[in-house]
Structures are given as structure tokens and as C-alpha cells.
Amino acid sequence: MSTQAAPEDATSATTRYEGSVRDEALRAQARTGRTFTLRINRGEHGDSAGRWESYDVELAAGMVVLDAVLFVQAKHAPDLAVRWNCKAAKCGSCAAEVNGRPRLLCKTRLEDFNLAEPVLVQPMQTFVRIKDLVTDVSWNYRVNEKIIPFRARTDRPWKFYQRDVEKAQEMRQCIECFLCQDVCHVLRYSGEEKPAFFGPRFFVRAAGLDFHPMDAEDRVGQLRGEGGIGLCNITKCCTEVCPANIHITDDAIIPEKERAVDAFDDPFRGIFRRNGAPKP
């Protein structure tokens, strides 16, 4: 598709919210009169390279990349596919890559970019494309099913304190956007042939269960085996991209690696180990 110039009067062409004078007024207030180019990598199912298409977008004050993508969808390309729901960085649906960095489209402000140059939007590179910016993340759900589920302890009363759940709570902040899976170099570009590696998201989930004070299971053996935690070389890209600000490497992966050393690898620790029982 060729580059299209934006119409002179934006409000006349955009969809009006009927009867909403307030929306109209806000939109007029937000108008900046500037336009910039959004380049979107588009393609059909399974097309990993895709094709880059440029669109002119009117910049509004406080605009995020998702707004710009929806502007393109409304005005230039009604067949453009993009997945989104909450627009508040809580649902994790709009994960994609902006100027090569894995980001949530709804949490990435255009003010942060040099708009003299085109802003590039492409789907997550680790997963197979369904259409345009939408990728098939179902591999993650299959990994999730492998994780040993929570099993409640019965040997002590169901009573614990805030300090006991602090570590587990951090892991529960995850919104499952899978940006960490996308950026992880063990998984990236792997397409349909994923290695035996759960990925950062599921180390987080396993750690959240392993640090729960009332859980009776221990997943450290699983992570070290089929989870492939040893493949992680702690280069921290997952932590860098996490929109929920979970310290994935420091608080989930490294503690689990340390627990694996405790349980399996440290010969001195073995002297004190009590028959492999999970620690209190």
C-alpha cells in the first residue's frame, strides 16, 4: 500500500462517538497538527518476513503506539489485524515490537521517539504470525500445562504472614504478555520448533509456586530437567522488557538456579541436606 496523506480535517473523517460532545472537545484539544509515519510489518499466516507498509498518522497529545495503529486501522487499512483489549497495560494482549524493542503497544508513548523518522511496528518475532501484528502464542499455554500444579500443605494450619508471600506476590504481577518469551534469545526466531525450555514467563510462574508458603510441591527438579533452566544465561533481556516490572532474572530465575545448586549440584550442601525434602 502506498503512503496516504492525512485528510485536512481529521475529525470529519474519523468515527464520531454519537452525542459525545465531550469526546469531540477532548480530541480537538489533543490535536497537535503534526503527522508522522508509522511503518507496520504486515503479512498473512506463517509469513515470518512480512512486508513493510507506511502510513501517515496524525499525532495527538499523549498518543500511544496502539492509538496510532488503531488510527491506521480506522482510516487507511481496515483489514489490519491487531490484538488488544484493555489499553491499560493489564491484559497483555497488544504485545509487539516497536522500533525493534518488545513493548506493549498501549504503554509505548510516541513522544519517546524521534518522529522525524518512521516508527516501526512489527509482531513478536518468536511466535508464528497469524495475521499482521497478531501472533500465535498458544505454545505458551502448552508449556503452562506442564508445570506441576499447586498442592496445598496439610501439615500446618493455613496461616501465613505478608513477609511469607512477598516473593510469590511479585510473580503474580505477571500479565502474560509473553514479551519476555519474545525477547529471550533461547526462544527468539525459533518459530514452530521450540527448544526444551520453559522460558522466563514460566520460570516466573514456577518460582511463584515454589515460594508459596503453603505449597507442598517443589518444581526445582522439573525446571532443571524439562524446563531447561540451565539454558538461561541470565543476560536479563526478559527483565528489561517486562511491563509489570517483575525482576524476572534476580527474583525468579537466579533464586531457582540457586535452589537447583542447593538440591543437586553443591557437594558440600549435600552433607546438610535432609533426604531431598523441600525446605521450610
Binding site: E97, D164, V183, R188, Y189, P195, G230, L231, N233, I234
Partner: protein, 251 residues
């Protein structure tokens, strides 16, 4: 023993990315910064002289131990400990995997397609294991360096403060901040506890874990600051001992 895991990683073509920022700057400065330190410290450790001046003792040569039959520099008896500690450190591993192994060179930048075993290979799988042993040894060295820093106030039996005293003090403070941020230490003091209120000494361990967590957050910075403070501390004492600069007495 665990079998080696293998993944096929990377993309056709090294450095493939849509990133528009200067992503190569961070691995470049890490590579150069580490190389400069390694070059200087190798020379300073092997040269075997000018490591003490007045009450000051270079951290490369402390604790000082040299049997009469040993032909080489005394630093070799001590330096393997901090060297091993830093080589197996979780932060330094990140830094050199990115800067030297280019695995990955930066986030969302491709490495060449290759077979990858991560930290499951014959050599690298031992890094997390030996890291805790080097931590225990490094704590002993650190205590010794504190003794050195306190001794640096002792100018022939009278209390004094020179620029060198402050240099040595700053160095040992940075080394302490670096050591306190160690991930193995964090796990040891409380990271491996599942339920603080159920564990023996749970409250104390929770407090210790929270305390160490603060330093873990600044571990990367402390890794760089303490790396260069050690080198600069040695350089300062070396220049004083060579007579190239004069140590100013403050008190």
C-alpha cells in the same frame, strides 16, 4: 549427572534487528572496560613490586604471602579468589556473555545461528556452583582488606589520614557493597526460605534477605565501581611507591 541440553538459537545473519538505538554501545563499553581492567591487573599482579607505601597495602597483594622458594609475584596466592568470584558472578556472566560471547549481543539483536547449550555445558554449568565457594573465600579476603583499611590510619604508631587512606577506605566500602549484593549470598541468607514465619530464625533471615536485596539491585553498578576502585587503589599506591606522586597528609 544431567545431560547437556542443546537449543538451536539465532537467526541467519548476525546483528539482525529493527532497533533504532545504538544497541552496540553497551556491549562495546563492557568489552572495553573489562579488557582495560584485565590488562592493567595482569601487569600489576605479575610485576611483583611497588605494592606497598607507608601504611598502605595494594589490594592485589593482600593478604601478603610469599614463601621464600616462590619465584613469581606474591599476588598469585591471593588473586585467584577475587578472580574466581567475579568470573562466576551472575552480573559479570551477563556482561561477558553479551560482550564477548555475543550471546546475545543485545536484547532483540540476533546472534549467528548456532547450537547453544547455555549454562549446561561441561564448563559453564559449574559457574553457579563454584560461585558460592568463591563467595565464602571472598568474605575472608574482604575482612582482611578492612584490616588493611584500618591499618592505613596508622602512620608509624600515630593516627593520621592521607589521601591513600581515603582511597583504601573507599575501595573496601565499594567491595563490601559489591559482595553484599551477591546473588548467592542473597539466596544463602533468605532467598531459599519458602516461609519465613515457619523457618528457624525466620524473622532475622527475612531482615537479612531484605537488607541484601537492596544491594542486589545495585550489583551491576557496584561490580563496575569496585572493579575500578581496586585498580585505582593499586595504581595510587604504586605511583606513590615509585615516587611519581606524593601522598598528601590530611590529618
Amino acid at each position: 549427572m544431567k545431560t547437556t541440553l542443546v537449543a538451536h538459537v539465532g537467526a541467519p545473519g548476525f546483528g539482525r534487528t529493527e532497533r533504532r538505538d545504538v544497541w552496540w554501545l553497551e556491549p562495546l563499553w563492557a568489552a572495553v572496560g573489562l579488557a582495560i581492567f584485565v590488562a592493567y591487573s595482569t601487569w600489576a599482579a605479575l610485576v611483583g613490586n611497588n605494592f606497598a607505601f607507608g601504611p598502605y597495602q595494594s589490594p592485589f597483594y593482600s593478604p601478603y604471602f610469599k614463601p621464600p622458594w616462590w619465584p613469581l609475584s606474591a599476588s598469585i596466592f591471593v588473586l585467584w579468589i577475587p578472580l574466581g568470584f567475579r568470573l562466576s558472578c551472575y552480573y559479570y556472566r551477563k556482561a561477558y556473555y553479551r560482550a564477548y560471547f555475543l550471546s546475545p549481543p543485545a536484547c532483540a539483536v540476533s546472534e549467528p545461528k548456532h547450537e547453544y547449550t547455555g549454562e549446561t555445558g561441561v564448563l559453564l554449568r559449574w559457574l553457579p556452583v563454584v560461585h558460592r565457594w568463591f563467595l565464602y573465600l571472598s568474605i575472608l579476603i574482604l575482612i582482611w582488606l578492612w584490616v588493611d583499611a584500618i591499618r592505613a590510619f596508622d602512620f608509624d604508631g600515630s593516627f593520621g589520614i592521607g589521601v591513600g587512606t581515603l582511597v583504601m577506605l573507599l575501595n573496601v566500602v565499594l567491595l563490601t557493597a559489591f559482595t553484599l549484593g551477591c546473588h548467592a549470598l542473597r539466596s544463602l541468607v533468605g532467598g531459599n526460605v519458602r516461609c519465613f514465619s515457619c523457618a528457624p530464625l525466620g524473622n532475622a533471615r527475612y531482615g537479612a534477605w531484605r537488607f541484601v536485596t537492596r544491594f542486589t539491585g545495585m550489583h551491576p553498578w557496584m561490580a563496575w565501581f569496585s572493579l575500578y576502585s581496586v585498580a585505582l587503589c593499586d595504581l595510587y599506591i604504586r605511583l606513590c611507591a615509585m615516587g611519581a606522586i606524593t601522598d598528601l597528609r590530611i590529618v
